[in-house]
């Protein structure tokens, strides 16, 4: 027996819900991989945050402090430093000028260095400490350095892939 709604139901059935994009599958895959690694190592996200965040903060502190301690232009006026910092942030992948640091192992000398950002993925929302939401962004870099043999002038380029995962706290109103 035909119900009064049957035509309308059939018509609605013909509309196919939009498929989620590949981005969602990528984000889920990343989360599930993280889950598997948590299970294997027996760690929990909260424990990871508890121990890793202070270490990460210390690493950032040391990384920020080191250039200051070694800065040959330590006497530069603060305004110029601010301007320089702004410009550097705007062009993050500028190669550092070659330094003349000799390789302690032999005659190789570092002549160039550059970091290339080639990928960034928004992996969605994760919950760290309790209900605090974070947006997790994964950056992929290639760190390159060039070394020159002083005798033959041959140049060797070393490329090392690197991934940085950034947890950006989200505001909860």
């Amino acid at each position: 027996m035909k119900t009064p709604w049957e035509d309308l139901e059939n018509e609605l059935h013909r509309l196919a819900p939009k498929q989620p994009g590949d981005r969602l599958a990528t984000r889920i895959e990343a989360r599930l991989k993280a889950t598997v690694s948590d299970t294997v190592t027996g760690t929990r996200p909260r424990a990871l945050l508890k121990f890793c965040l202070p270490l990460a903060a210390a690493a950032v502190f040391v990384a920020l402090l080191t250039p200051l301690l070694n800065d040959p232009e330590a006497d530069t006026p603060p305004e110029e430093k601010q301007l320089a910092a702004t410009n550097t942030r705007a062009v993050p992948n500028v190669a550092r000028p070659p330094d003349a640091t000799p390789n302690p192992a032999g005659s190789l000398r570092r002549v160039g260095e550059a970091n290339y950002l080639y990928g960034a993925a928004d992996e969605g929302v994760v919950y760290g400490d309790g209900d605090t939401p974070y947006r997790r962004i994964r950056y992929q870099f290639l760190d390159t350095s060039e070394w020159q043999d002083e005798a033959s002038r041959a140049v060797v380029r070393v490329i090392v892939p690197r991934e940085d995962v950034l947890l950006l706290p989200m505001n909860v109103y």
Binding site: W5, L12, K18, Q19, L24, I28, R31, T35, Y173
Partner: protein
Amino acid sequence: MATMDQDKAGSDWQGLLQEWGARLLLFARQQAADPVEAEDIVQEAFVRYWKSRLDRPDLSPPLLFTFVRRIATDRARQWRRRQTGLDALRIEVANGDGWFEPVIEDRERAALLETALRSLPVEQREVLVLKIWAGLTFDEIGTTLEISPHTAASRYRYGLGQLRRQLTPVLT
């Protein structure tokens, strides 16, 4: 053996996402302020469901809709103030992003149906989505939405009735 299990689990979740992803996203869109938030909710629900299923393989896929609903409710509670300020934006975003795959034939009619569906109250819309596109029974819909099956059936009838009233002058 562990690798085989992991491989199987890896392909299983993709199959599950392939089968249920579109329907979950459509349901999440009934709850979320915008498509991006709907995707966030589906991601969270899917991961939680999958983790639960590792311990309890008997969990049925329709439970995914319950996860979506709970996560959406939690987020709405946390972000209520922000959401109320975004009502206008929500409508704009929704208008720019369809809920359904584009159809080749009779596009105008499909657009009218979608517009009419969007205009329904959320209580009716979510029941329609769960019944028509997710294929749940009224019992399952009741469990998902924490209402009685009878209420689910009433909302379904009201929803269809309202849709028909809206569409009849246009489509006939």
